[in-house]
Symmetry: C2
Subunit: 308 residues, 2 copies
């Protein structure tokens, strides 16, 4: 198997592109795919300052490396979710990467800065841990980006993640979620910083290979809280389809973004937003004007009553 | 395992209903599911005369049996597609069922009545055999129903078929096909008879069990022309999801029919239809006013030129 670009021995084959690459041409291929996604979806401009959401995993570290390679001014933000050894180890991978590349890494410690960890938030809010994690990350990424004057928040959602999310939302016909899913979520007047997903043209096999081939150490374990997550079933179903017809994921997500999504415009407009009475973030009026994040915090009036 | 209805020993478990049934209660359950689908989607009225599309397989024979049980006036239509031994055997199963139940079975022989079989039509039109089969069936079912004064054509599309078709159309974002997919396709002024799919609440495992438990012999083999059909990949992917979360197919298709489909309304309106200049059926204006079916027929001016 030879590299499509330089005809040297290839180290990786990518069936959906009907191509194989040597190490250097593969890393360049990844950079090009990210540059293409950014351009195709008008994600950001060259001079903009980007806050990269860092988990210590393959996707976020590959994303940070590629954005830096492409010349973007970036800082990382790592959120320590307080998930025991998993958080300790992923924290270390994030710090090591930033130090090696001499990049700025901001750190939020949920237990110290918010007063609860993911398990505690799940207990007090009766939400699943994955939901508490998502709400907390969204809150803190936006807060740090907004206060730090960043133009955009880049997250490591890859092609496999985004196509699985889309499949899950369509299987349930959650049309308001489908309407809101995009490669770019624009900034809003009420304080939301633009969010971008530059990895939507790369699968997770490719971000893993990118890290391995460029010497980036990352946490390989899945988060222990995510075991049995339905997202894994959506990914497995899409793997069956991808094996049968390579390129299915890219066709599915690409077609959605280019002409499927417009069918769902307006499906999320029925929700009227008001300012959270605690932190002023936008929140649906039906939720008593307290946003999902603020409702995660343990209430002092509830002290002593948790877990019966 | 006991029957949910009568507490006798169960013979089949249906995970998505969290239920098991004995033979008699299972057959009754199938009848109820079909009655429910018909009512839910206003498929047909009690006094209407229904032409049932019969292939000799489990779905169409179960459908015919259930519609008869429910008291509908039905005739069957079997189309001999000229696919060698497969057609001979399925033909015999259809005739045997009709004779045993004393039901009227109409028969079209594609080779005799149309002048080509599926392979011949595929050669002369350069279409895949499955496409030729679908076009020919649509043409003849509609012709026989229309000329015979039938109120509706009932087809054996089951829950697995319909959810797989929907998944395939969404993966490709073929929005005009999504818009056209429904439990009922209404009659049109230009000669299309109403089409209904009364089996959309039953999976193929259930239609097979219905036949086995009620003593209906059917052709078990898949059509030899369908091997490698992408529809099988969509079904495999949905099986992964159904195993993970029983009821996924029904939720997916049910949600689509109740509130997803409306998002696609209008997506199929850009196609302007004209009358086929050969048979007068409606056909897209772009196709030189000759419908897909009429273009399958071998042209005399092409004689001797086929297959080089």
């Amino acid at each position: 198997m030879k590299c499509r670009k330089c005809r040297e021995a290839a180290v990786i084959e990518i069936r959906r592109h009907n191509a194989a690459f040597c190490r250097d041409c593969f890393l360049e291929h990844c950079n090009r795919q990210v540059a293409k996604a950014i351009k195709e979806h008008d994600m950001c401009l060259e001079r903009e300052h980007i806050l990269v959401a860092i988990s210590g995993g393959k996707d976020s570290l590959a994303l940070w490396a590629i954005l830096t390679d492409l010349g973007y001014a970036t800082s990382g933000l790592y959120i320590d979710l307080g998930i025991g050894e998993y958080s300790e180890r992923s924290h270390k991978f994030a710090v090591d990467f930033a130090n090696t590349r001499n990049l700025e890494l901001k750190i939020v410690d949920l237990t110290e800065d918010a007063g609860f960890d993911v398990s505690g938030g799940a207990r007090s809010s009766h939400r699943p841990p994955c939901s508490v994690c998502g709400i907390s990350k969204r809150h803190w990424f936006n807060k740090v980006a907004s206060e730090g004057g960043f133009d955009a928040i880049a997250t490591g959602h890859n092609l496999d993640d985004e196509s699985a999310t889309l499949l899950g939302n369509l299987l349930h016909w959650q049309v308001e979620y489908v309407a809101r899913q995009g490669a770019v979520l624009p900034a809003t007047n009420d304080g939301f910083v633009r969010k971008i997903k530059p990895l939507i043209r790369l699968g997770e096999r490719e971000t893993a290979a990118y890290c391995v081939l460029s010497g980036i150490d990352y946490i390989v374990d899945e988060c222990p809280m995510a075991a049995g997550n339905t997202g894994l079933a959506y990914k497995a179903a899409l793997s069956v389809l991808e094996d049968f017809s390579p390129g299915t994921r890219q066709m599915f997500l690409g077609g959605f973004l280019s002409h499927g999504r417009e069918r769902f415009f307006g499906a999320d407009e029925e929700v009227r937003l008001v300012s959270c009475r605690v932190c002023a973030s936008p929140t649906p009026a039906a939720d008593d004007a307290e946003c999902a994040y603020c409702r995660l915090k343990p209430k002092s009036r509830h002290s002593g009553f948790s877990d019966g």
